[in-house]
Symmetry: D3
Subunit: 131 residues, 6 copies
């Protein structure tokens, strides 16, 4: 088993939220709704969240590339919340705008034009983050 | 625009096919069917193949990580042919087995247990490639 | 052929709407948009709505479990409107919160983390319904 | 309501099967499995099959274009059996090879490279049909 | 290769926007977000947009039927933005309301009840366009 | 937290395999491929398998209904292996043929005609199991 450890983030969620209204809105809504999920204290949901967290830790692949893989998967499966989440996470890990665009291109080509509305919204977030 | 260039492969398709019967069968069938597509000489199909090729070139992200992103997308969208293709391509670029497994884990967690039958078949290919 | 019959609801839509602003908003929008569909009077749409209605009647399986199956399918295919609809329907048939959570867990595990944003919103509706 | 009527086919299933081993294999398997479904005599399945049949009748849109729409939907949702079915049906209605390719291009662009393995297999059927 | 040429539109985007608030809102948002994408000047995104444009030109199949195929694909893959786009494009090419409904029926039958929320919203746009 | 416990199966896998060649083939292939996955000993895969197992235990909902929910999800997401798995599991828990058909009807109506090829193959397994 590979050693797994928490990645080192260059920015906090709060710093991201200061740069981008889209990010702030997403993070605030997510926090509010997750409090509700936490209160339910469902055993399997907590376990799933735990696996989810472990998946993106530093390991044989650097966290930042796994976050970009999560971004590609999210864009192919067309989930705006998940796209926002993985853009923010990989941004916090130092991914550049050019790298974000290349990852989104993989999703565009694999997933097709149905990805375009999500690409447009993703680019809006990128514009806010990279200014 | 980032400079794009062809990646340097450590192995040829033929060398991969020598290690794995699954890879050989996939590559042979793909070649045979693509001859048919080539003969049709459809303008837009050729353009799409061209974009597809360009997406995975060396750029702001190394080719090998983009091939792994293609693998994650393929596993989430559950296409065995595409999974085989991206495992082979990333293997040719020097991706390790542990890295393959971590990429597939992203697909498993994002895409759920519906990915498991594809994971099983993907692991069979990994076993043949890494021996 | 199994006998099919209308299930007995414990609550009306109106009673559900009184408990939950999310439910009210969903039901009102659905009613408004369906009036438009009804006015179009499209033969195949009406037939499809009819089959759809018949699918969830009491039969070899109790309606409430089929509504939960509709919920699982909706969560896996990630449609918030459909999730709201089947949560409301199964709530009206006496499904408990713990049962709702277990059904959503099936969707989470089969469908993966891409289901999580829908789970969060679904839990918000559950919180309003079960108080 | 628009008048709906059965389309006029230029070829029978049998004539298609004589031109293409892929078509014959698909049609034979489908017939065999459908006998089993017919025997079950499930009320809702029969109703669904009936709606399905009615959807592609001549109407405000010619049947052949609706079969091509079924083909595009099938390719985007990546179901080889459904792709075979709609290629055969539209072929029987006089759709040309160039028209088939253009319809498949819509699916390729909307659905992305994940459609390519299905495109390859679809082109193999087209090659057998158009010789 | 078939000759491809731009289709002749009966209406401009502006004329469509004057008839429908839904269309205006969609078109305005799309324009605003696309400016952002254009500014990024990503080579592969531009190429993809170019292929996308070429796919729906007049050819072996009339543009209006290919726009309807795009509509069916969009409804099956459940993307409201894409549904709006293809309804507007095919409306601009003279497609009738009855034809729109038949295309949507193909999507409904192929894609199932999960398409219904999108059908409802699509019918709202149709009602605004055809009055 | 609800008490979870293993369900009581009426039949072993081996007894199911004796009744159905489809089931035997599926179970044998699955066992063979899982040995390979087990050998890899991937921490997150094992955790995911563990959650997956826990999801279908007896709880607020009886196991047999959760297996049917897994069947509906699998049919909507169109995975033959998963369909076979959940038909076998629910059969082992005493689900009747009529109940299987009603669950598949939910999947057919939610997921549309794209589910039909899977329904056909599912009915073939049902015919072997129920004789």
């Amino acid at each position: 088993m590979n050693e797994r450890k928490e990645p080192t983030y260059l920015f906090t969620d709060e710093q991201v939220a200061e740069k981008s209204a889209i990010a702030r809105n997403f993070l605030d809504t997510r926090t509010r709704l997750n409090q509700n999920v936490d209160k339910a204290d469902n055993f399997l949901v907590k376990r799933f969240y735990n696996i989810d967290h472990n998946t993106y830790l530093e390991g044989a692949l650097p966290s930042k590339y796994k976050e970009l893989m999560g971004l590609v998967a999210s864009a192919c499966l067309r989930c705006d919340d998940c796209i926002n989440y993985h853009i923010i996470q990989s941004y916090r890990l130092g991914v550049t705008r050019a790298q974000h665009e290349e990852a989104i291109n993989v999703a565009l080509v694999v997933g097709g034009s149905i990805v375009i509305p999500h690409l447009r919204r993703g680019y809006e977030l990128l514009a806010e983050l990279y200014g």
